[in-house]
């Protein structure tokens, strides 16, 4: 039996595991990236590789050490170099003496044949159409639930009365989802998740709102962004990110198949400043920042891995755009040396600044009223 492993992608790792199991493979579960993972990856990566590259390399090494003989790489992670990414990962690992097969899942649009060939290699069990349907429906629902649990946690964390309760609830939800066996379980769990979150005691106030944009891997993987969302939540800030795994997977696969340049709004908003699609998520970063501004958010944080090209382009455009839309802007560059404490200090300062700005705005508004009352007729 194949022993399959793959990059760690947050809680969705569990979904992929179940998927691979259902297809008749043994799975070597990738570990949540730790500092060790990163330093392992850094050791064997070129110096200027971006953070996602290093983390994924580290994860692969750990998986191979744990006995994996097949690595599946999701073309969806880090699209700007994705294809080459895998080629280089493979070369580096082979030069280290590991023996394994690398299977890349390419986006279906341009590489449909290759995708099918890859999937065939991964299906090691006789499955009927009904089986496929069942497996895929389950995986899809599970991804959605994971995103949902996470979104709720971001919404509720800044409002919680007892610190840490949301995080605890969220972990519980993730656990429940991990134990689900079939579609019916998931439906039940969905209701339970809503209940659990409802039960958390909440304050009633309007928290500061910050939107998070940037490169997908560091945006969706808390282990890569030093748990920035939790950090913000603990400061009483509502943080919303522009990308989620389920929507991303879906969006990418389907849009690609239909050859539709998707996310129309975001791109349209960005286009006066960012005229060309340039790989990665640079353009989306700009578009989403504008979207957040239009929705009345107080600030935007851009997460970009060091040397990430699309995000560097975005970074030179974002300050001007954010100033124009009057929304605070902070750019965070992540590499293996970024420390949690340093990040926290920067974030705290940013949050203070936004709070002051909001106060100022509110005062101004009131000022207007007073002014009107005094001098109006």
């Amino acid at each position: 039996m194949r022993k399959v492993s793959f990059p760690y992608v947050g809680n969705a790792t569990i979904t992929f595991k179940k998927l691979m199991n259902a297809f008749g493979n043994e799975v070597v579960l990738p570990r949540r990236p730790t500092e060790e993972t990163l330093s392992l990856g850094t050791k064997y990566s070129p110096e200027f590789a971006c953070l996602p590259f290093k983390i994924v390399l580290g994860t692969y090494i750990e998986a191979l050490e744990a006995g994996a003989d097949t690595l599946v790489s999701t073309g969806g992670v880090g699209p700007c170099r994705a294809g080459l990414y895998t080629t280089l990962h493979e070369k580096i690992l082979k030069s280290l003496g590991y023996e394994f097969e690398m299977i890349t899942l390419e986006p279906p649009g341009r590489h449909l044949k290759e995708l099918i060939a890859s999937i065939k290699k991964l299906v090691n069990k006789r499955l009927s159409f009904a089986d496929y349907y069942r497996i895929i429906r389950f995986a899809w629902k599970e991804l959605q639930l994971l995103d949902k649990a996470e979104k709720l946690s971001h919404k509720i964390r800044p409002l919680e009365v007892k610190k840490g309760e949301t995080t605890k609830t969220y972990r519980k939800c993730a656990e429940l989802i991990a134990q689900a066996r079939d579609y019916k379980d998931l439906l039940e769990i969905e209701r339970e998740i809503e209940l659990l979150y409802e039960r958390i005691e909440k304050k009633d106030y309007d928290p500061l709102k910050i939107g998070i944009v940037g490169e997908i891997y560091v945006v969706i993987e808390p282990a890569a962004n030093l748990e920035i969302e939790e950090m913000l939540g603990d400061l009483g800030v509502y943080a919303e990110r522009s990308m989620f795994l389920a929507s991303y997977t879906f969006y990418n696969a389907v849009m690609d198949l239909l050859r539709m340049p998707g996310e129309r709004d975001v791109k349209k908003l960005a286009s006066p400043y960012f005229k060309e699609m340039c790989g990665g998520h640079g353009r989306e970063s700009v578009g989403n920042a504008i979207l957040f501004a239009k929705r009345g958010f107080d600030g935007v944080i851009q997460l970009s891995p060091f040397t990430c090209i699309p995000e560097i382009v975005a970074k030179s455009i974002l300050p001007k755009v954010c100033a124009k839309y009057d929304i605070g802007f902070l750019s965070v560059t992540l590499d293996e040396q970024t420390g949690k404490e340093g990040l926290r200090t920067r974030i705290e300062a940013f949050v203070d600044l936004l709070a002051a700005k909001r106060k100022h705005k509110e005062a101004n508004k009131k000022g207007d009223v007073v002014y009107g009352a005094l001098f109006g007729n």
């Binding site: 294809g83 080459l84 895998t86 080629t87 400043y273 960012f274 560097i312």
Partner: protein
């Protein structure tokens, strides 16, 4: 009318075309000054901090032209063939400039997407000419002259000269032959790359760069990787390196790159691993605005010495 052409990035690959074209249209072409400390400083000031040195330099060269020309030519290179595009920073170049440099309002932004070849190139030239109020025949004439001049430039390279550095056809019997690979805007800008090529030539080496290898040779290695690179210049660099390693035409390879270059972390590592496998000496030299002379000199000298010794040894073995 004066048109400013920044001496940076794609300039080094295509300048005979660009300059001739605008001249033949009847414009006065002003090329920004050769890279200098001031230009680098200007660029560093305005560009985003983590940009690579070539992109910062482009900012500097644009600023060097501001106030003394009517238009500043800024290409947005998308594709020049059907197989690859350019580094995202090329794609987003005008957008970056518009946001980073204040009061820049006379960019002549030209979007270059000519994957289908000559026809498209001409219609692009025509549209640029029209923007500048020039007619069809003028455009056609300028286009033809421009093409000729680019072809001559390319031919000079193939003969063994390095025109942008003023190096004439090199002596074939040099003691060591060196493949020097990297992007044209690093190799041929002697200020940023601390004149690596000039130094090597003065050390008595015969230097071969990607531009000096015929396209047909490079094509042979297009399928070498499971997947092609996405970037035109990177493909050229990598294929040249494969060609060198396969044919053993050179004694060693030097990769000239910029610190923090996105595509190059992949390109460099692939070459390094291949070179190790094929037992070809390989050296990477990376540049940014702070790189000092001494360090580079010692490394180059050590590398060339090592190659010389190796050759002697090989000769004895044979």
């Amino acid at each position: 009318m004066k048109i400013g052409v920044p001496r940076a990035l794609a300039y080094y690959a295509y300048y005979p075309f660009i300059n001739t074209f605008f001249e033949e249209l009847g414009l006065e072409v002003v090329v920004s000054d050769p890279t200098s400390k001031e230009i680098i400083d200007e660029g560093v000031e305005d560009a985003v901090a983590d940009a690579c040195v070539p992109v910062k330099l482009f900012h500097g060269h644009v600023k060097n032209l501001m106030g003394r020309v009517d238009y500043i030519f800024v290409p947005r290179l998308i594709r020049v063939n059907s197989e690859a595009t350019f580094c995202p920073k090329f794609l987003g170049l005008p957008d970056m400039l518009a946001c980073s440099i204040e009061n820049l309002n006379n960019m002549l932004e030209v979007r270059i997407d000519i994957a289908k070849g000559k026809r498209q190139l001409f219609s692009l030239c025509l549209s640029v000419a029209r923007k500048l109020n020039k007619g069809f025949f003028k455009a056609w004439n300028a286009y033809r002259k421009a093409k000729e001049s680019l072809e001559k430039y390319k031919l000079d390279f193939l003969k063994g000269a390095i025109p942008p550095l003023g190096i004439g056809v090199q002596e074939k019997k040099a003691e060591v032959k060196l493949g020097v690979v990297g992007y044209p805007y690093l190799l041929y800008d002697p200020y940023v790359s601390l004149d690596v090529i000039g130094k090597l030539v003065r050390m008595g080496a015969y230097v071969v760069t990607p531009e000096m290898v015929p396209e047909t040779e490079k094509r042979k290695y297009a399928r070498r990787l499971r997947k092609m690179l996405f970037w035109t210049f990177s493909n050229s660099v990598l294929r040249t390196a494969f060609h060198f390693m396969e044919t053993k035409l050179v004694d060693g390879i030097i990769h000239v790159t910029a610190f923090g270059c996105g595509p190059d972390f992949i390109v460099d590592k692939i070459m390094e691993l291949e070179a190790k496998e094929k037992n070809v000496p390989f050296l990477t030299v990376a540049f940014d605005e702070h790189t000092g002379q001494e360090g580079v000199n010692t490394r180059l000298e050590a590398f060339v010495d090592m190659l010389k010794r190796r050759k002697v040894k090989e000769a004895i073995v044979v």
